[in-house]
Amino acid sequence: MSNPLADMEKPDVIFAIGTNMTECHPVAATRLKRALTDGATMVVVDPRKTRLAKMAHLHLPIRVGSDVALLLAMAHVIQRDGLIDESFIAERTADSEAFLSHIRQFTPEWAAEICEVPAEDIERAGKLYGRGNPSAIYYTLGITEHICGVDNVQSLCNLALMTGNLGLEGGGINPMRGQNNIQGAGDCGAVPANFPGFQPCDNPDNAAKFAKLYGRDSIDPERGITKVTALNEAGKSIHAMLIDGENTVVTDPDKNHCEHALKSLDHLVVIDIFLTETGQLADVVLPATAWGETDGVQANTERRVQRLRKAVEPWGEAKPDWWIVSEIAKRMGTPGFEYESAKDVFNELCELSPIYAGLDWDRIDEGKYHWPVPDKEHPGTPRLHEGEFKNGMKGLFKVIGYRDPAEVISDDFPLWLTTGRRLEAYHSRTQTGRSAGLEYLLSEESLEVHPDDADSLGLVHGGMAKMASARGEIEIQVKVTDKSPKGTVFTSFSFANVPVNILTGSGYDPVTQTAELKVCPVRVTPVA
């Protein structure tokens, strides 16, 4: 997030797109509710009538995957009505001319056709966002889990840049992180493009620096392949994998493909707290400590670096992840893994990462710092882009066009399936599914179908249906509700016995290789 969570109580206009915040980030949502009580106006863009959507002053139930069209038309309205922030554009951005002339052609009427919502509503959304003082954008996977995920994010940046809604209290562009430490995994360099602290791998100086630090002659001065490519290469050029705590088989967008990939490896080592579906394919499974059993550090969605603390002794012989990885490294003869505690590991990270340079184990005790914290005198950075962008750079406008999802509905697959998460379940439910009581609220997966669709397809509430895509077929219970719009069905992928990811996985964003999980054409038929 560019802004701290506390800022969520301060926007004048809230623009929430592709985020089911009351279910996925409930505590953050309570802050938006307070902003609403204080008189903020909220626009929600979501195909479904979520709780957040019901609270909105304006809800745009756009057709799944049509976000770019909507955002182009909003930009059009903002420019047409003179709601752009001229001085911000002049002082802090570049490439505005091309963008501002590009958007002239994208009228609300044009977008209305694609998004399947009234042009007046698009018009209103543009005006509200453009006039808000300030306006804040919030989004989650509903924006990124598309083949055009990067285009979606860039389109949101364009809106914020043209209206100067960056670096302001209560404004900004705020992606909400889904997993507790997904931010931290990136911070620590567990990505193919960056060393710790987002230092690019394709910069030869960085590669040389880390080679030296890690006791090697060299490290490839180029990006590694992504996980998606690595799975495609399994059995071809990739022959061994070390997977830490991820139930890839259940959460991966294309289950059959993924299972096949892992099976074709010569050697698979999985570190986890349970024997997951992924672990069952492994040659070696190593038991890790769970929450409350080990000390550590975690960074939240507002870049706040916080301490995890050990409360009880580990289950059985479970060991901390860092210990397990270090023991494997030592056996491989790799130097530099003589850690005695989580503190040793974290302090090494701080030394190598410019954004953590001002931090160490003791300083983060109270969770007061938001990175970047470049030195020990620095108070941390709750709000990014205040006064200037990183290194005095300009905010770049990008010219973006709308394109259809990887697969679109057809006679064979006439409905849009979109997927999401539920309040009571978390990812593959290896954790919530094992917590007493949660089944009282959510014990079975279901498919939300609009009453009109249910009628025409002959589906009954509580009955079973077959749902097929170009990749496979599953059975699922039907829930008739007008929460999803006509023509779109919804489910989550929380239950292993309803492997929705047999169906999904039609395409990937060419830049980030994030899977298109939000859009998948399907056919739904009743099971006799």
């Binding site: 997904i182 995994a185 990885v325 090494e348």
Partner: protein
Amino acid sequence: MTEHRSDLVEQKLSTLTLDGKLVEFTKGETIYEIANRHRKEVPTLCYDERLEAFGACRLCVVEVEGIRKPVASCTTAATDGMVIKTSTETIEKHRKTLLELVASENRNVDVNALSGYSSQEMTILVDRYSARTGRFSGKQSGTSNTGDKNPFILRDYDNCISCYRCVRVCAEREGDYAINVMNRGFHTQIITEFNNDLRDSNCTFCGQCVQTCPTGALGDKKALRDADTEGEIKKTRTICPYCGVGCSVDMLSKGDKIVGIQPAMDGPANEGALCIKGQYAFDFIQNDDRLAKPLVRRDDGELHECEWDEALDRAAEGFKKVKDQYGRHAVYGIASGRAPHEAAYTMQKYIRATYGTNYIDNCSRS
């Protein structure tokens, strides 16, 4: 540049006399806030600093010169030159009487501390004022709804003192408006919209009502499963393991058993709030499905338990073999978006330092 809603207003300091001492305050502060800052132990029951002051219990009354009746300090804004006494004989007698009334109306004065974060407030005050008497015994306010089958929230309104903190936290902090008040006086009852079970209301089971209840009328059913478990309750400050908000919690344990979770009121990301996952989905940790020992696949094709050394040797041998046979670009690492920094850091270092590649990723792409 842009103006902003929360532009700082210039604040001027004013003064008043608090128990004979001149103290400063800022406009808008209540008498209670000032007294609290000066460590005057003014008792409260309907007060929760996160909520709008309500003025229902009248325990926080103080004497203000020139005002005949004692005033509720939690709802009274301080004004320049006020002369305040927080503790006089009359006031203490009044407080004791009120607490005796509360104690006699409630079936239980002793509340298990696992009930919730604020569950000891009434008990502590009743003892501080030696107010355990049976003077009003027999009369009880509210109606129990212990029939609600939900597995999280105990609703025993025989212990309700009508402070409405639950109703207020649900409305003001959560914005859920799941519960409300029916009737007033002795028959006051806290109900859901149609007087149903919570599951059939707007309730999201965030547990906030439980955590603010000062009497244990609302209790944490999951934690109370361990009411009779041996051992002191230990609290460990940590961060929720679910979403990216990063709420601070106190993990409650007895010996090596995790028994419950309470929100950290001073948690920087959540300021006391939690959701159902952070509040109630903790017992996956100590679950019989947990892996207790390493597993290796043996010649029979099955996974078998083994000692750490064997498992680690097997793990390393396999990587060596692949590296020797196919080269250093044949090994890939996937770090977790759930494990702590130290896991992700060592994972990437393992790959980069062992193979000299950047063949490392995490699960954010799926």
